[in-house]
Amino acid sequence: MVLSPFIFLLLSFGVGYLSSTMAGSKEDRVAVVTADSRLKKQLTVDKTNTTAKYPTVTAAKKALISKKIKGYLKVENMNGKLTAAYFGVEHLSETQHDRFLQILSAQQQIMNLKKAQLSQNQLLTLRTQPQLKQTVSDNNQNAQSAVKLVSFMALLFIMYFILLTYTTTVAQEIASEKGTKIMEMIFSSMPAKNYFYGKILGTFGVIATHLAIYLIGGMSLYFVSPHFEFTKSIFNENKETVDKVVANLSNLNLLYVLLGVIIFTVLAALCGSLVVRPEDTSKAIQPVMYLVMAGFFGALILGQSADNVIVKVASFIPFLSSFFMPIRLINGNTDTFQVVISLIILLASTVGLTVYVGSLYAGLILQTDDVGLIKSFRRGLKIK
């Protein structure tokens, strides 16, 4: 389960690598035929799409007939003028066309300059190029929006999937323990509340390990991607965005995710302790699922409206604040005071709920009658 994203990425890379390798199959290449060896070398640098294998037009023609190449480019030097002619069964791709033209232009210019026998100063004058300078402001609206959107989506989906996975796991585990006498033996060795705290801590440890594996995996990708041919360009083009997204995920938002995961885990544990049979867990866990979905879909819909009143209010409500406050944080739509208040409320609710469920835990777990969720909870209160 933990490794599935990495397996998915490896598969994607594998497929990408294979497709890029396959893309340059022999039949798709263009043979370059020219007597100028230097020019030939320049034109066939791209081994994937070109070949220098056929030295004469006759050989190239044969290769074309036997479909070993898609065409050939014949380049001749006619008294100082380069002329190139392409023959083939398919058109040159735009990229190939531009590339050939660029190389030929550069070569033609060298030849022209040589023929003109210009002085050093004239040469330098001719080489003067116009300048096109680009100045891109940091506050570029579109780029900023993209970063915010990616950060928010990443955060939202990470939290959603962790919650979906672990709330169910915890509830099921507790439901399967409930009513077994091994729990009585354990409780005769340690207070039930300590066992409960240990269970929550253990679950949190597993989640933290899960996140740490993703973090290490993510960091590995970050450092490895620039070294692979097929990821280099994508990575370099988006490095700035990636850096900003990472920064957005590594700040207070992470704290909201962690606290959110704990409070939902505790609530899931409470729900799991209300059923006798593990197969009833899905029924018991429904309130948690509804809350998670309310947070997830609410945040998804209102993710781009950080100043919406619902987002503002929900960012202070425990359970929901983990979904909504990050929207405001990413969009810079809040101040330190509000964040501190929201965090205090979330932290106090998490601790309060944990202590409360811990105090009820023995009463809830030691019941063995299948009396329904509400009645089971009431009984737990009475037993306490």
Partner: protein
């Protein structure tokens, strides 16, 4: 010594324990008996701090706290272990909670497995063991840390006669070592055979408390077992005899109105006749249990 004083517990409006008080002495076995729902499990759960009750519970003069847990060995009513673990891992897990190191567990487990005739099973998975052997493992988990207070909730249920005897021997050995032992059982024969003292609970209250022999004798020697050529009808005609029943061994069991009529009955049934057996006894615990529990 375990002292329970004025224990009250209610579940909502239902009062489950109504001022339960008793003592279980060191080096003695105390039987806690009562009908289903009488409050036995709630008493155990209160002693073990599973539920919060009002009243006082102390062991060796100290209230039961986290620190006391290491001195307690508890065997619950039903058997339940972690099926995927090996015997060693299961015992180690629970023994570690009791403060035992793994090295000590390994050493003591070997001894216990031999003692309980399950030698060589340490690395077997719990789920691969027979029910009887699983019960033995659970007993090991209860006793491996040498508890000073042992609580056994119906320890013999589901055991065959051989393993029942084995468990009885072990309980008696623990008694010799000076542990306070409380156990509950519905089979009064086991209680009578093993226990020094008896605490009987009915409807959340203690209805009998004391040493078993005194309790039985307090009901008077009102039972006579007699082997005589006389018929059932003849015996039923005797004065002050409330009830006569024939035992499966051919003797009769007479219930007297009062133990003082025993002499008169003896005179009557032995008049000019040889009597193989004449034994005047108090009621059995089973009878006392039924009387006190309101079972007719």
């Amino acid at each position: 010594m375990l002292e329970v004083k004025g224990l009250y517990k209610s579940f909502g409006t239902k009062e489950v324990l109504k001022g339960v008080s008793f003592e279980a002495e060191t080096g003695k076995i105390t039987g806690l008996v009562g009908k289903n729902g009488a409050g036995k499990t709630t008493i155990f759960h209160s002693i073990l701090n599973f539920v919060e009750s009002t009243g006082q519970i102390s062991f060796s003069g100290v209230p039961i706290t986290k620190e006391t847990y290491q001195k307690i060995g508890y065997l619950p009513e039903e058997r339940s272990l972690m099926p995927k673990l090996t015997v060693f891992d299961q015992v180690r897990f629970l023994a570690n909670l009791k403060g035992l190191s793994t090295a000590v567990v390994r050493k003591r487990l070997a001894w216990w497995l031999e003692r309980l005739q399950v030698k060589g099973k340490a690395e077997d998975k719990i789920k691969s063991l027979s029910k009887g052997n699983q019960q033995k493992v659970q007993l090991i988990c209860t006793l491996i840390h040498k508890p000073q207070l042992i609580i056994l909730d119906e320890p013999f249920s589901g055991l065959d006669p051989v393993n029942t005897d084995l468990l009885k021997q072990i309980i008696l050995e623990e008694k010799k070592h000076g542990a306070v032992i409380i156990f509950s059982d519905h089979d009064m024969t086991n209680v009578e055979e093993l226990c020094d003292d008896l605490v009987m609970v009915n409807d959340g209250q203690i209805v009998l408390n004391g040493d078993i022999q005194s309790i039985r004798e307090s009901f008077g020697l009102t039972r006579i077992f007699v082997r005589t050529p006389r018929s059932l009808e003849e015996l039923q005609q005797l004065a002050h005899v409330k009830k006569v029943s024939q035992t499966k061994f051919g003797s009769y069991r007479l219930v007297l109105e009062d133990e003082k009529y025993g002499t008169a009955i003896f005179d009557e049934v032995t008049k000019g006749e040889y009597v193989q057996t004449f034994d005047q006894q108090p009621p059995t615990l089973n009878e006392i249990f039924k009387m006190k529990a309101g079972v007719k």
